[in-house]
Amino acid sequence: MKHRFYTWAVCVCLGLTACQSRIEVAHTLSCPPPLCPDYTEITLPPNIAPLHFCLPDSCQATELRAHFTAGAEEWEATGNHGEVFLPAKKWRRMLQGASTVTVRLLARIDGEWTAYAPFSLYVANEQVDSHLAYRLIEPGYETWNEMGIYQRCLENYEEKAILTNRQTGYGCMNCHSFCKQDPDQMLFHLRLDYGGTYLIDHGNIEKLNTKTPQTLSALVYPSWHPSGRYVAFSVNSTKQMFHTTDRNRIEVMDFASDVVVYDVEQHTILKSSLLSTPEAFETFPTFSPDGRTLYFCSADSVSMPGNYNRVHYSLCSIGFDPDSRNFANRIDTLYNVHREGGSVSFPRVSPDGRFLMFTRSHYGNFSIWHREADLYLADLTNGSIRPLDSLNSHEVESYHSWSSNGRWVVFSSRRMDGLYTRPYIAYIDEEGNTGKPFVLPQERSDYYTMLMKSYNIPEFITAPVTVKGHAITQIAKQSPGIDLSCIEK
């Protein structure tokens, strides 16, 4: 009796499945579906987690079905809670077996099936680094509540905290940075309680007291030297103000700033008169992959805050000899704002040293609050500069970083809602051509709508950070910190 029941149950299930797969399409549309998030025509790394997507409520779809075709193989995914995705195993098999996946989405609207025009997912040969590190924080004004530096495995949806401010007395933490995407060499700052810069080198944690009498402030925006021996920093005197009617809500501006280099081994700050002139605001340093050039942004210093919209940062560089710790005596200008207009921030050189990506806004340096801010790419071999149109949107594009193999970039964008920053990943080939970017996939398509925090400073890392937050907390609470000295070079 029991056996017969199970047989019937299996038959009924199979029958239902068979019925489900027979669909009569009543309408065929020539446009691709308006996916949320927009994953149409994007270029994906073969090791990315499955994409979850749905149609917006305005489509009034009651049921979804997606047909994935990759070469000779086909998969079908049915809508689960209004969204479509392929299970991880199938997804991985599909991406590893094809360079193009065609997706045809069918939606049941008003009881009838509508077929949208198929769209493609392009699968690159090159993998993306396995993890992404970022800070989660509200896109706030002057206060903060809970925040933390997190790491997310890009091959699935696992997110883990590296350190949260629950562990550190709810102070601010910021500016996490890695040496060549190496999770074992990182640094970040803690402010207020347990304030200092924390430098982690293969499990060894150092707390640094980075304010010296010779520098403007504690160390701020970092960039590692490829050798891991130095870190370039800016030192900034920064203020925040709030617009009344401007399309940008907030203005963050430097009243003064310099660039210095920190010697990790000697616990010494190296200062050059060329990088700390009172006539200029120098900020956002970054080393070239060979470690012999230091790029930075520089603007003529003006009285602030009255002239906040007259501060324009050029892209400059200076030679650096890592052996002698000396700077060259000449500054080159790669992007001269007096000639080209706008203002440059966040220069980042590709690992092969050929390209430099930067953010360009109308003025100032805190581009995350500039809705006009876009990404640009400079070819360092011929000096040509162009906007990355396929990456840019009508909203902010700002912070960005390269993957270790140089074929992927991650950048922050506010294109979803104009306020909350989300990480977008894009393919970039040897010639600097970019694919259409996609937002970091999540386990649910409405994840970003419900999330009340911004992704800040997305950085690729080649593996997870293994140092425990608890170990950092212990050092933070127990160590008085190492005082740094400063040398004029």
Binding site: T244, D417, L419, R444, M450, K468
Partner: protein
């Protein structure tokens, strides 16, 4: 059967009595407390959000607390639900005390810790989940009594400790303490095994610390875990736990004494009742700040836009602190009588109409209200955002304000996000759905009496908020939206409170005859202000139509200054 029925009736009667008692006490100590608490957090019905919440130690207690808290937006719901919770706590404690002491004499003791908990509920930094956690703890403690064998006792104790830590958080410490007390009272060699649950708890705490769930032991194992972590918890947070431990200890000690004499038993009961009354009265004075309760009341009226009630209540109270004055003056401004009644309560300076921000959520929320009234949408949005952030991002009141400010600015994408969030709540989904129609619809926003009026306050000449002084921003708002009279009331009041008569005069010259200050008699305090700078200029007095009453009062004031203590002149002359 009759005995059983009688016992049920006794329990029911005791339950009803206690429910009424707690309800009455909550009503008298501060009936707006729960309405205020609800503003801090509402439950978002989203699987990922709920999962994250439940996965934390104490997650179930937090979830149950959130489920209850969401209904507190309805009048009296907070009092009724919390009174019910307190009744259950009282009955469970009483039952356990009886089981431990084997005498009915100890039953009134059960009310001591619950009364102490009542004091905590008036502290906005206390988490409601702390009370739910105590209920879960008492339930598991009651379950322990049903286990028959000693070996199973210990196993249950270990499992319950782990379960309680996972579901209810630090209250597991109290649970292990009470179990250890009980084991010590029934001393056997095996009683030493009851040191295992605390050790297990320490181990779980250590793992939690290593996993980064908290930075301190006290948030994991002590009542501090049920208090805003960013603040140092006041000692009152320990009071209920200490009292729970104390009454159970007394129950155990009572076994050593047998009171046979009826008089003596009566005296013990009377002593407890008197002690309880004294404890409650003393604790109410010590731990419930009546000024906070007034602040909560004002806040709730402001939220509901019941300005008349706020004004009436303010009239009946000594408005002796800045927060009261700020709320009262918003009500006057919204009713259009700020410039007529500002000096009827003692004013200190400009902080009497807008207090300085101190980055706490209470003051930030208040400032958001004030700036919204003024028509300064940028600052209203800023303080709403900061207050919401400090409250954990799910404050329904501030999310509503953020929806409004973003609709006013035409920032529809982010307004849609907040609307979606509110649509995932039980009590605000209809409000959110109603506001969907404004998205990407400038015409609808501009036609709306509130949103449209506030949108017209956005002035084209952008600047940094307050950089040229708030007064300059307010003037820009008036140029942009002359019909927004509240702004002018605030602007004039601001100059009078800062004793800046030249600028007050300038403001009148600029705006008199415009829709914000139509020709005709000025508001009373503005007339007084005119008298202060133009008493000897009859043509100006005529121009501003200063009434005979005000002129006579001014003459009277010059003769006898104490006759005009509610006037601008008195403030200008005597206020420091």
């Amino acid at each position: 059967m009759n005995l059983l029925r009688n016992r049920q009736q006794i329990y029911t009667a005791a339950g009803i009595g206690l429910f009424l008692l707690w309800g009455l006490l909550f009503f008298t100590t501060g009936r707006f407390n729960f309405l205020y608490l609800e503003q801090w957090h509402t439950l978002i019905y989203d699987a990922a959000t709920l999962r994250n919440e439940v996965m934390q130690p104490g997650g179930l207690a937090q979830l149950i607390a959130d489920l209850l808290l969401q209904f507190f937006c309805y009048p009296a719901a907070g009092i009724l639900l919390t009174a019910l919770l307190f009744t259950l706590l009282s009955l469970l404690t009483a039952r356990l005390l009886y089981q431990w002491a084997h005498t009915l004499l100890v039953l009134p003791l059960s009310l001591f810790p619950v009364a102490a908990l009542l004091f905590l509920h008036h502290n906005v930094n206390y988490f409601y989940s702390g009370t739910v956690a105590l209920l879960l703890m008492l339930l598991l403690l009651a379950g322990h009594a049903y286990i028959r064998t000693r070996r199973m006792h210990l196993l249950y104790a270990l499992l319950a400790t782990a379960l309680l830590y996972a579901l209810a958080g630090p209250v597991a410490s109290l649970f292990t303490l009470l179990l250890a007390l009980q084991a010590a009272a029934e001393w056997r060699r095996t009683s030493l095994c009851y040191l295992l649950p605390p050790l297990l708890l320490l181990l779980l705490g250590w793992f939690s610390l290593r996993a980064g769930l908290s930075g301190t032991w006290q948030h994991l194992l002590l009542p501090d875990g049920y208090f805003t972590h960013r603040l140092q918890a006041a000692s009152v947070i320990y009071l209920p736990w200490c009292l729970w431990a104390a009454v159970f200890l007394l129950a155990l000690l009572s076994r050593c004494f047998t009171l046979r004499h009826r008089m003596l038993r009566g005296a013990v009961l009377l002593l407890q009742v008197v002690g309880l009354t004294a404890f409650f009265i003393d604790g109410s004075h010590r731990y419930i700040d009546s000024r906070n309760e007034v602040f909560k009341e004002f806040n709730c009226y402001a939220r509901e836009g019941r300005w008349d009630l706020l004004r009436q209540r303010g009239n009946a109270l000594p408005l002796n602190n800045l927060l009261f004055q700020n709320y009262y003056h918003v009500a006057l401004a919204e009713e259009g009588v700020l410039a007529d009644r500002l000096f009827h309560s003692p004013c200190i300076d400009i902080q009497s109409i807008y207090v300085q921000g101190d980055k706490t959520p209470y003051v930030s929320a208040l400032l958001s209200d004030i700036y919204f009234s003024m028509g300064h949408i940028a600052l209203s949005q800023r303080y709403a955002f900061e207050a919401n952030e400090a409250m954990g991002n799910h404050s329904p009141r501030l999310l509503q304000r953020l929806v409004q400010t973003n609709l006013i600015y035409g920032a529809y994408d982010v307004a849609a996000k907040y609307i979606t969030l509110l649509e995932h709540t039980l009590c605000y989904r209809q409000w959110a759905a109603r506001h969907r129609r404004y998205l990407w619809n400038d015409a609808a926003v501009e036609a709306d009496p509130l949103l449209g009026n506030k949108r017209r306050c956005l002035f084209p000449d952008n600047r940094f908020s307050g950089n040229k002084g708030l007064d300059d921003d307010l003037k820009q708002i008036l140029h942009s939206n002359p019909s927004h009279r509240i702004t002018l009331q605030y602007l004039g009041s601001l100059y009078l409170l800062s004793k800046d008569l030249p600028r007050f005069q300038q403001t009148l010259e600029t705006f008199y005859g415009t829709p914000s200050l139509p020709e005709g008699p000025l508001p009373v305090h503005f007339q007084e202000g005119v008298m202060a700078f133009a008493a000897d200029q009859p043509q100006l007095l005529e121009h501003y139509q200063i009434t005979a009453d005000v002129r006579q009062q001014y003459e009277a004031f010059l003769q006898n200054p104490s006759s005009g203590c509610n006037t601008v002149w008195y403030f200008l002359q005597f206020a420091r």
